[in-house]
């Protein structure tokens, strides 16, 4: 109570502060102090507070209260005081009540209010207001405080007095946002008041509104409009004692000034409140204005009645943000809302959190692949479709949710369709689970019917009328049909100029199918724009840099229109405001997938009617618009109704793997909303088997299990697993990250000569994945050296954003591997940071915050374009650094230890050939069977096309972005470097240097198939290690891999060596994988380190692998045609030789795999190796039979057993021996190293400083070894 009082009476007195008042204050204070002592005994603070509230309303209660607590004779005085406590402004007058007691109260006569208490109160008030009038009149010599006082000079003292309370503590902190805001306000407010005072200097005080029942003070005072006040103990003390207890105040801070400052604070509080209220009010108002708001109740009611409902609404109706909120309000609180895109999850969670006034809470949260904000108290969770599917592995019935919203179902992504199918099953088992499908108004019945006629709610979007005009283009045969004719597009620009005055704003958006079409139109449109000066032409497609893309959002100057020439990216993903005109070419280039060749195809199609409508709708977002369709209405009618769903266009590998891991063993029987092509399903199953992810019975293999846990592509997943196993993880992480994001090479990178030259040092002769690695590492280096990476990137035609994405992805992959125990968790290496470093980091953090703030401001106001803007120039000045880049740079520096990154990138600069070969093998473990063999007729000269053959697709070209396309000489086989060989010589040439191209994808554009992201790999090693079937002849000198590549060895000895190495390597590899994966699955509960056994196996495998990679086996290589393969095999039951037949029985006892292959004939030694199933040429077969039966003495290098065996027996023994877990190989190695040095007396111990190893080598071998280092 007493505190209340002290505040009230002084709250807004500054305007009044005459001497009288001040004295009065004093007396009040002393009174108040006395009472304090008394009252504090009788009532607790809480009670006081409550009483305070009551007082304001019911004066009578005050009376009662005070009767009970204070002396009667004090009552009169107290009443006054309590009255004062209600409202500061009234208090002022009250103080003078004694003086002006005689004043007649101008009274209301006819009060409508029946409440007698209220009347009393009002009387009092009116009395006091009239008194105040007198007061002002009676004090003509009032000391008026001017507004020339600079409060900011006394920040310290004022902070001391007012801002020690918790509530204000932020204002007291120098440099805080609150501090700055407040003092800015103070300055502005004082300035404002001063000006106002000057203006109204001569103006008379306006008096005398009628008095009535409201009993308002007669003289206007702004402070009466403030409903807020605050307590400050220090201020109270100051007022009582005219000083602070423990602080010396400046003289200038008189009571009057302090009061004035107090009033400013009140104004500040009031201003802040109004601002915040407006914000909340606006949120609510905006929500009410959304079209979906009209249907709020309907949605809730429908959900009470039905388990599944469909909400169909067009863009802008507000369904994505509002429906989750409606459900929350209706009492659902375990709400999941799926989105096809990660970015949408984050932005929607932010938006909905803001709208539900929960911006900083976690009631509304998001969870995406690598990030989440979800907590225990989350009620609405935005997540990706993929993640919800993953959650079903641990929670098959999704019991953590009671309602699931699937947004954007009409987009029909693979995961959308999969999720719909899975949920269809789940809701049968969970009658309490509700499902809301949200879609654009496209194909709604499909969804409704899929869920047994679920009710549909249609919500119209907010669209203005759009005028539609069909202007079909007459195809002119004289013009080269390959290149798009831009004239119809320019015509429309002319028509717009003609018809609509340039004062009428409104931009143009042109939809074209692809990049080359965009370039053609942009070129012509720019020429037109130069003439008219009325257009700014801007291209928009995904290969542009972010910066260039962002230009489409800027404003055009007055009298000039933007002409945005775009792919279908502007159809849904990018929304440009202010578009009034649309030109629709009716075409789209879409990626389709040819499962037969595992080839992606970029083809041009007519669009669907649905997307044609979508394009049209883009004109009517902000006002009425016009849409020109460059096709005939009859064309439109013949369009497909809807676009092809993704499921029918993409490989299904990951999907099927995931299905099986979720316990849906047969993808063929899954109830898809629209089933995919069966051959696509079958092909994916075959592919997964080839990748060893599925066993022959289509169950998951350990590696398949692992892959299904990693939320990445099968190919990438395999590389990551292998990379971690071979301790090559960092470069592999970089390469896989680079493969997973869009290429950092922009369009310009291939056209701009300067960029080409500048980029040259980054190029790797090994291939595109290594060029990417180089670019990334070099970028890190440049960053670490503290140079401007932005400029560096621009010069080379690189998009820096991609590198930031790669860094992020890399870290995410790494975390993923750690989570699954494929990587050791690094010990918390709290790297020692010097105080300088710490200071620097602190500075960077601060700068980052500042930049972010500035960026926020920047974002709010879009930039204005100038007519020159359409030219995108590379400026060499560092001055044009944009804030967004700086922010990213700082974020990068703060979240990554640059030193460490630089170290690893330094390492990758020092890769030896051996490292590179190992990396190639790791990459191939994922890529195989995506390899291509060069055509024999390739000349490897520039300006000629080199062709390649994959197993299923002959005559494939190098993609123009590949390093090999611009430098085909790099592909020249070693044996051709010095001498020319004729074609016949080339055929069947024995060499150890045959190479294949491994590629990441096969892409068809303009009807030409291209290899994308290709690298050179050693043919023999790659194929022998990864092929799924190896067929041999009788002495293994002729091998056919995966039924399409034939290798021949010069002699049986080499062949034997190769085959036995392969068997050993593959089985060691396999057992290592098993050990590691076992570790992984067992280690889930404990942070276990990688077992020593695995480590040992790794070491052995790595060294054996190196040996194998370095070995110089002479062989020839040839592509076997499919027709040939039909006659290649012996076939079953053809083993006539008695000896072999007899051997059979013997073997069958030894090895269960030693069965005759049912189709090929011959003996199946391991799951991949079939011995002696190839029909040899007539001449060789005789010899073959001879050698096949011939027995020799042979000592198994693994178990050391000596035996008399033929080739087959030997192979079988080896297979058994090494499959026992690779122990044999371990022993072998130990023995090897001993034996070798024994055997060769010339060998001596040599310590190589490069590889930091003790080696045993002959002098020539030492030289050779040194040379390997030099080579890199």
């Amino acid at each position: 109570m007493e505190t209340n009082q002290s505040i009230h009476f002084s709250s807004s007195s500054s305007e009044l502060s005459d001497n009288d008042t001040v004295t009065n204050y004093e007396s009040q204070f002393s009174n108040h102090g006395k009472r304090k002592r008394k009252r504090s005994r009788s009532a607790g603070a809480d009670k006081d507070c409550q009483l305070g509230h009551k007082h304001s309303r019911h004066l009578s209660e005050e009376h009662k209260h005070y009767h009970s607590h204070s002396h009667k004779r004090k009552l009169k005085k107290m009443k006054h005081k309590h009255h004062k406590s209600k409202h500061g402004h009234i208090d002022k007058e009250c103080k003078h009540q004694h003086k002006h007691r005689t004043e007649a109260s101008d009274q209301d006569s006819n009060s409508d209010i029946s409440d007698s208490e209220k009347e009393k109160k009002i009387q009092k008030k009116s009395q006091s207001s009239s008194e105040r009038k007198n007061l002002l009149d009676s004090n003509p010599d009032t000391e008026t405080l001017d507004y020339n006082f600079d409060f900011s000079k006394y920040k310290a003292s004022l902070s001391r007095m007012f801002f020690r309370e918790n509530f204000f503590s932020k204002i007291a902190i120098r440099g805080s946002q609150e501090h700055d805001d407040f003092w800015n306000f103070v300055n502005k407010f004082v300035e404002f008041q001063r000006k106002k005072a000057e203006k109204s200097k001569d103006a008379k005080v306006q008096l005398g509104a009628e008095s009535g029942q409201l009993n308002l003070p007669k003289v206007f005072d702004v402070s009466y409009k403030i409903n807020i006040s605050f307590i400050s103990k220090d201020f109270d003390v100051f007022f009582k004692k005219n000083r602070l207890v423990d602080y010396q105040l400046e003289k200038e801070l008189s009571r009057g000034r302090v009061l004035q400052f107090r009033s400013i604070i009140l104004h500040y509080l009031d201003f802040q409140q109004k601002q915040k209220f407006q914000k909340i009010y606006k949120i609510c108002k905006d929500q009410r204005e959304l079209p979906i708001y009209q249907h709020k109740e309907t949605i809730i009611q429908m959900l009470q009645k039905y388990q599944v409902i469909v909400v169909a609404g067009d863009t802008g109706c507000g369904k994505s943000t509002q429906v989750p909120q409606y459900l929350l309000e209706a009492g659902y609180h375990k709400i999941a809302c799926t989105q096809p895109r990660r970015i949408a999850c984050i932005s929607l969670a932010k938006r909905v959190g803001y709208e539900t006034l929960n911006e900083y809470g976690s009631e509304v949260a998001y969870q995406v692949r690598f990030e989440k904000s979800k907590t225990q108290s989350t009620r609405i969770l935005f997540l990706t479709e993929g993640l919800l599917l993953r959650q079903m592995k641990t929670d098959p019935l999704l019991e953590m949710y009671n309602i699931i919203i699937i947004d954007e179902v009409h987009e029909r992504h693979v995961n959308t369709d999969f999720l719909l199918g899975v949920l269809k099953c789940v809701i049968k088992q969970r009658s309490d689970l509700k499902l809301v499908l949200m879609s654009a108004t496209i194909n709604i019945n499909l969804f409704s019917n899929y869920f047994n006629g679920a009710p549909v709610l249609k919500v119209p979007g907010r669209l203005y009328p759009i005028e539609l005009e069909y202007c079909p283009v007459k195809t002119d045969d004289s013009v080269d049909s390959k290149r798009l004719d831009p004239r119809p597009y320019i015509n429309i620009m002319q028509r717009i100029d003609h018809k609509h005055p340039s004062t009428e704003r409104g931009d143009l958006l042109i939809f074209l199918s692809g990049m080359s079409e965009i370039m053609a139109v942009v070129e012509a449109a720019k020429a037109y724009a130069q003439k008219t000066k009325r257009w700014i032409v801007l291209p928009l497609h995904s290969a542009l840099s972010i910066e260039e893309q962002d230009k489409v959002f800027d404003y055009a100057p007055d009298g000039v229109r933007k002409c945005v020439v775009s792919t279908n990216i502007a159809e849904t993903s990018v929304t440009i405001d202010g578009v009034r005109f649309i030109v629709d070419s009716g075409k789209v280039k879409e990626m389709s997938f040819d499962p037969k060749f595992k080839m992606q195809k970029l083809q041009e199609f007519w669009i669907s009617r649905a997307s044609s409508e979508q394009r049209k709708g883009r004109a009517g977002r902000t006002g009425p618009g016009v849409c020109y369709r460059l096709y005939d209405e009859s064309d439109y009618n013949s369009f497909d109704e809807y676009s092809t769903p993704e499921l029918q266009r993409v490989p299904l590998d990951s999907l099927i793997l995931q299905m099986i891991s979720m316990g849906l063993p047969d993808a063929r029987k899954f109830p898809f909303i629209e089933p995919p092509n069966m051959s696509s399903v079958e092909n994916s199953i075959i592919f997964l088997k080839e990748q060893a992810a599925l066993a022959s019975d289509e169950s998951l293999t350990p590696i398949g299990q692992m892959l299904s846990m990693l939320p990445v592509d099968v190919v990438i997943g395999k590389m990551l697993i292998m990379g971690s196993i071979f301790n090559m993880i960092d470069p592999i992480l970089s390469i896989t990250a680079a493969m997973s994001v869009q290429s950092p090479f922009t369009n310009r990178a291939y056209t701009d000569h300067d960029a080409l030259v500048a980029r040259k040092p980054l190029e790797s002769e090994h291939g595109d994945p290594f060029t990417l690695l180089n670019a990334f590492d070099e970028w890190i280096q440049v960053k670490a050296q503290g140079q401007g990476t932005r400029k560096w990137c621009k010069r080379r035609g690189l998009e820096e954003q991609r590198f930031y994405e790669m860094t992020k992805l890399k870290r995410q992959f790494k975390d993923l591997l750690k989570d699954h125990h494929l990587l050791d968790r690094e010990e918390a290496t709290a790297r020692y940071m010097s105080s300088d470093e710490r200071r620097a980091q602190h500075g960077e953090r601060k700068k980052l915050n500042e930049l972010r703030k500035e960026k926020m401001k920047d974002n709010k106001r879009r930039k204005f374009l100038t007519l020159e803007d359409e030219e995108f120039k590379v400026s060499d000045e560092e001055g044009d650094i944009n804030k967004g880049d700086d922010i990213k740079d700082l974020e990068f520096r703060l979240s990554n230890d640059l030193n460490q990154l630089q170290e690893t990138s330094n390492k990758s600069r020092n890769f030896t050939l051996r490292d590179i070969n190992l990396m190639k093998i790791i990459l191939c473990s994922g890529l195989y069977p995506q390899v291509a063999i060069p055509d024999e007729c390739n000349t490897y000269r520039r300006d000629t096309e080199q062709t390649f053959h994959t197993k299923s697709k002959p005559f494939v070209l190098l993609h123009p972005t590949s390093i090999f396309a611009s430098h085909p000489d790099l592909l020249t086989p070693k044996y051709l470097e010095h001498k020319k060989l004729s074609q016949s010589e080339l055929k069947g040439l024995f060499s150890s240097k045959h190479e294949l191209l491994a590629y990441v994808s096969l892409l068809e554009t303009n009807n030409k198939p291209y290899l994308v992201n290709a690298m050179k790999v050693p043919a023999l090693q790659t194929v022998t290690l990864f092929s799924n079937s190896i067929d041999t002849n009788a002495d293994c000198t002729r091998l056919i891999f995966d039924s399409w590549l034939e290798f021949k060895f010069k002699d049986a000895l080499t062949a034997e060596k190769v085959i036995s190495s392969v068997i050993q390597l593959r089985s060691t590899w396999h057992s290592l994988l098993l050990v590691r994966l076992k570790d992984t699955f067992e280690g889930l509960e404990e942070d276990r380190r990688i077992s020593t056994r695995a480590r040992q196996l790794e070491r052995i495998l790595a060294s054996k692998l190196t040996e194998f990679l370095n070995a110089d086996f002479l062989y020839s290589i040839r592509r076997v045609l499919a027709a040939e393969m039909q006659r290649a095999y012996v076939g079953p039951g053809k083993v006539t030789d008695q000896g072999t037949a007899a051997m059979f029985d013997k073997i069958l006892k030894v090895n269960s795999m030693g069965k005759e292959h049912p189709i090929k004939g011959g003996i199946q030694v391991t799951d991949y190796l079939t011995f002696n199933c190839l029909l040899d040429d007539a001449s060789a077969s005789v010899w073959g039979e001879f050698t096949q039966g011939m027995q020799r003495f042979w000592k198994c290098p693994l178990c050391g057993q000596s035996m008399l065996v033929n080739v087959l027996e030997r192979l079988q023994h080896e297979a058994v021996c090494s499959s026992e877990g690779g122990q044999g190989l371990e022993q072998l190695q130990v023995e090897d190293s001993e034996k070798i040095s024994e055997l060769n007396p010339l060998r001596k111990s040599y310590f190589c400083t490069e590889c930091n190893k003790e080696l045993s080598l002959t002098t020539t071998e030492i030289l050779k070894h040194k040379k390997t280092h030099l080579a890199t």
Partner: protein, 110 residues
């Protein structure tokens, strides 16, 4: 995800003049989450949703004449020593000082 229990005590403020509604945390003069703040009228108060460091927002009050819940927006109410809903302030426009009369007329128009 959140448990069922947490769904209790949702207190909703609705303005009787416009359709503004919002969940509030406290009604009164001394919001417990803004320790030194004191209001001159009984208000509907929210914890500041736009800040992580405490604070409060007043969203509505009661008209001192007709006792109806009104929000603080310009169109709905006015504070001048006490709160008046637009209706009441218009009814008694003559009693307000000139400075406010203009403001009230403006409200009436909007």
């Amino acid at each position: 995800m959140a448990d069922d229990k947490q769904q209790h005590d949702r207190r909703v403020f609705s303005c009787t003049t416009c359709d503004f509604t919002v969940d509030y945390h406290y009604k009164g003069r001394k919001p417990p989450f803004a320790n030194c703040i004191l209001l001159h009228e009984e208000c509907y108060v929210l914890k500041d949703p736009f800040s992580t460091s405490g604070g409060f927002v007043t969203v509505g009050g009661l008209c001192s004449m007709c006792n109806r819940d009104v929000c603080l927006s310009n169109g709905c109410s006015l504070f001048y020593t006490q709160r008046f809903c637009t209706n009441c302030s218009v009814k008694h426009i003559q009693e307000f000082p000139h400075e406010l009369q203009q403001e009230i007329m403006h409200k009436l128009k909007s």
